[in-house]
Amino acid sequence: MLEARDIHFAYRPEAPILSGVSLALAPGELIGLSGASGGGKSTLGRIMAGYLHPGRGSVTSGESMSGWSPVQYLHQSSIFAVDPRWRIGRIVEEGWQPDEATRQALGISRAWYDRYPHEISGGELQRVTLLRALSPQTRYLIADEITAMLDPITQADIWRLLLARCEAGLGILAISHDAPLLARVATRTVTMQSGKLL
């Protein structure tokens, strides 16, 4: 169980971003997180993945946090999540050797492997960072608007794969504005507004 308890966060004390948020994600569960932009969704995701430290409150996962993190965060702007000097092949294989089936299910071509991040499209790079995160050691996935830049066909392909992973025990927190999408994929959906879960 990946559990965030009573999380408070602010960059500046007069402008709190999260005020007392608690959320628990079980293995095999897919929680949808929606809400207005600027409400703190991504900040909560980054805190749960350990990228940001809460001012107050705690995050526990019951997993060893050394080495490859069992909680992987997928950035909504994937260009910020990759080293611009690395070729795609090196980025993909940073944490594990992806199997062919997963690579193909995500529609990732080997022809991209010798290119740099700026030489493939935004949606292609989004899938590259997803493949990198899907190591067998990943127990929880924080997916921040990961299909927001993808066409409907590719989006359906990716969610077909993620739903299968979820059935096999991966816990997924899907941050999205796409209500019809969350209605299709999520076990339950929570809404965030001005730093609080409704």
């Binding site: 960059y11 402008a15 929606s34 809400g35 207005a36 932009s37 600027g38 409400g39 969704k41 991504s42 909504q76 702007s77 260009i79 910020f80 700026h118 030489e119 493939i120 499209s121 935004g122 949606g123 292609e124 989004q126 899938r127 921040d144 608007e145 927001a148 830049m149 993808l150 066409d151 409907p152 066909i153 590719t154 989006q155 359906a156 392909d157 969610w159 077909r160 739903l163 504005h177 796409d178 209500a179 019809p180 999408l181 209605a183 299709r184």
Partner: protein, 259 residues
């Protein structure tokens, strides 16, 4: 005719080995036009070349890109000599990625640069308010804004000079439905004011109520251009098979059972 794209292609020069070069095609033989008063939605799979077209229109392709064909705006063919007169003045770009913002300057300052470049006397506060942003957002550095706020900031920058042509690359990605409707509504208003809007988007459902026509790009080629009204029901009115598959794969429609 505001914008006319004539047999336009983009390819990338790549080295195969040390001395041999080859051209990898990315956009191939694109031809379409955009009238004043129109919102043309450009949709297609990722990697189809949607953003490349936006970057080509503003001459910000990577240095190894090679283009052929012509981009004509208001009767003038865009080239190195007149791009500076159009770019950021008579045509505005809303980029796809927040990495296009200067990470070292406060957003308000970057908005002021955009206003000065276009000779606009518009009130920056108003430009921000139009997209639901306030003075706090102006004081922030780009990394302190949420994804959706950064996108709205880039919209304010692109539209503050009231350009004739607005190219918006995924302007609603990361926005909640209310804010997305505000943004698309504003783009639609610009079209009503006889501007031209090229709306690059993956989100067909969201774009349809605001678009006049929908151009579909696949693997670097234009598949076809459909009137927005043809996307309805099971998609029987759509001319191309690919358009119908896009339509049917949406979560609102068939989703996982198609594609």
């Amino acid at each position: 005719m505001l914008l006319s794209v004539e047999d336009f292609s983009v390819s990338f020069r790549r080295y195969a080995g040390l001395l041999q070069q080859r051209l990898v095609p990315a956009l191939q033989g694109l031809s379409f036009s955009l009238d004043r008063g129109e919102v043309l939605a450009l949709v297609g799979a990722s990697g189809a070349g949607k953003s490349l077209l936006a970057h080509a229109l503003f001459d910000i392709l990577p240095p190894n890109a090679v283009t052929t064909g012509q981009l004509v705006i208001d009767g003038s063919t865009l080239d190195q000599s007149n791009w500076p007169d159009y770019r950021g003045r008579r045509m505005g770009l809303v980029p796809q990625s927040a990495s296009h913002l200067d990470p070292l300057a406060r957003c308000g300052k970057q908005l002021a640069w955009a206003a000065r470049r276009s000779g606009s006397t518009a009130d920056p506060q108003q430009a921000l308010a139009r997209f639901g942003l306030d003075a706090t957002a102006a004081k922030a550095f780009p990394h302190q804004l949420s994804g959706g706020m950064a996108r709205r900031m880039m919209l304010a920058m692109a539209t503050i000079g009231k350009p004739d042509l607005i190219v918006a690359d995924e302007p609603t990605s990361g926005l909640d439905p209310d804010n997305a409707a505000v943004v698309l509504g504003h783009l639609h208003q610009l079209a009503d004011a006889q501007k031209g809007v090229l709306l690059i988007t993956h989100d067909l459902a969201q774009a349809l109520p605001f678009a006049t026509r929908v151009a579909i790009l696949r693997d670097g080629r234009l598949v076809d251009i459909e009137p927005a009204s043809a996307f309805t029901g099971a998609g029987a009115a759509l001319k191309s098979d690919y358009a119908r598959r896009l339509w049917q794969s949406m979560p609102q429609n068939g989703f996982l059972t198609h594609a």
